[in-house]
């Protein structure tokens, strides 16, 4: 077992881990941050994408021990307050503090089942930072490392376009 201290979404966590524990499993099982989804576990689907020192990376292709002393951002780090939730009468409450990227995905119907969404969001954060005014082609290219099985790509592209507008 190795002791690691990892900063996740600005909060420092110290844990004892086996070297073979993947960062994705560390986030989900050790920290309970289940927003990072696990899909293919060999780097193809992109569902587990997180930010490693600010750059997008597959958390299933990194061991937790490698993140010792580093900064990780997960989808939970995008918003400080609670996500929107459904009230009994069918209205939604909360969510006013969604990141503009999340807000855009909501408004443009950029998610269906939502499984791929956290990974897509974490890929798009650095992309939109580097390309505040992307063309549709650039957006599609930037999304190519994330798979969506609901075939919702058109709405995802629309959502990223909308997010770019909101974030400019």
């Amino acid at each position: 077992m190795k002791q690691v201290t990892i900063t996740v979404n600005g909060k420092e966590y110290t844990r004892e881990v086996e070297p073979r524990l993947l960062l994705s499993d560390f986030l989900r099982h050790e920290l309970g941050l289940t927003g990072t989804h696990v899909g293919c576990e060999h780097g193809v689907c992109g569902a587990c994408t997180i930010l490693f020192d600010g750059e997008s990376a597959r958390s299933c292709l990194t061991f937790a021990v490698q993140a010792d002393g580093h900064e990780i951002t997960t989808v939970e780090g995008l918003t400080s307050l609670s996500s929107p939730h459904l009230l009994e009468d069918g209205r939604t409450e909360g969510g006013n503090n969604l990141h503009p990227l999340q807000q855009a995905f909501w408004e443009a119907h950029g998610l269906q089942c939502g499984y791929c969404t956290p990974g897509i969001l974490m890929s798009m954060i650095p992309f939109l930072k580097q390309n505040p005014n992307p063309t549709e082609d650039e957006i599609r290219h930037a999304l190519s490392g994330n798979l969506c099985r609901c075939t919702g790509y058109q709405h995802i592209v629309d959502a990223v376009k909308l997010a770019a507008e909101k974030m400019r």
């Binding site: 190795k2 086996e18 070297p19 073979r20 524990l21 993947l22 499993d25 576990e41 060999h42 780097g43 992109g46 994408t49 490693f52 750059e55 997008s56 990376a57 597959r58 299933c60 292709l61 990194t62 061991f63 021990v65 490698q66 890929s123 650095p126 992309f127 290219h141 930037a142 190519s144 490392g145």
Partner: protein
């Protein structure tokens, strides 16, 4: 947990790295970017008993200009190669090809040394090393040596490195004057493994005669494949469409040995190789600065 258990070391100097490798030899695997090794470990295709993590060895991560060469530390990330001004200036072929390597999320972690040592025949960097006449510095606790890229790739996922050696530096000569370059590949989607890819370089003299040509292919055999005979057809000649077509035919029919896969039959790969050879040679010719 997905990967099998292993003993983990995270040294912070080259000296410690080489000590560990001399101690464990083939039982130890280096963990560079982990973008090929960790998937294989997750599937338990690979179960190293010892893992030597190179990510804390800062002295292995650099891109420097020397007098006539670029010096790249084995742990330089692919994403850094992509945006490096020296590489853009002195190795435009490499600059053009790096964005074809997987996706940004992978290039953020993946390293030049990791991809070279992994020696996947479908990977871009081994092909580029051959095309660029790179030299690779192998170091062990006892000695160090330079290996020409041509002699480095020893077959599918196999290199000339000894069990106690580590690849520490990549030396890339500056692009010669009057040299044009081109890299192209065809993949189901950009970022996927390519069905076929070609790196081409053409150097011309004052009379526009080709003094040197390079044609290197990915996914065309059990390592990066150089079409030496097709290059000879071009050298010493003033290049035209007919000559380019015959070189492309020769390379794609006689010199490469694609195996075919789920996306492309071997015949289709040969067809792609022929088309891409013509396209890359023509683009390289257009780019020769006069």
């Amino acid at each position: 947990m997905k990967p099998a258990p292993f003993e983990y070391h995270a040294p912070s100097s080259i000296e410690e790295v080489l000590d560990l490798k001399s101690q464990y030899g083939d039982d130890a695997k280096f963990l560079a970017g982990g973008q090929s090794l960790v998937p294989a470990m997750n599937f338990r295709i690979v179960q190293p008993s010892v893992l030597i993590d190179l990510n804390r060895v800062n002295e292995l991560s650099y891109i420097r200009e020397d007098k006539h060469t670029l010096r790249v530390g084995a742990m330089a990330r692919e994403r850094h190669l992509e945006f490096d001004a020296s590489i853009q200036k002195h190795a435009p072929l490499l600059h053009e090809a790096v964005p074809f390597i997987a996706h940004p999320q992978i290039r953020n972690r993946g390293t030049i040394g990791g991809s070279i040592v992994h020696a996947d025949p479908a990977a871009e960097l081994p092909v580029l090393m051959l095309a660029l006449n790179a030299r690779l510095k192998a170091k062990s606790k006892k000695s160090e040596r330079w290996i020409e890229a041509k002699g480095f790739f020893a077959g599918m996922f196999t290199t000339a490195l000894e069990p106690d050696e580590a690849l520490v530096e990549i030396e890339i000569p500056f692009a010669e004057k009057n040299t044009g370059w081109s890299f192209m590949e065809v993949a189901p989607r950009l970022g996927d493994y390519a069905m076929m890819g070609v790196a081409a370089l053409v150097t011309l003299d004052k009379n526009k005669k080709c003094t040197s040509a390079k044609l290197v292919y990915l996914n065309a055999g059990d390592g990066p494949v150089e079409a030496v005979e097709a290059e000879k057809l071009l050298e010493g000649e003033v290049l035209n469409d007919t000559l380019i077509e015959s070189a492309a035919s020769y390379a794609s029919e006689k010199e490469i040995n694609p195996f075919g896969n789920i996306h492309a039959s071997a015949d289709f790969q040969r067809h792609l190789a022929k088309v891409l050879t013509q396209k890359t040679l023509k683009q390289a010719l257009e780019r020769v600065s006069q």
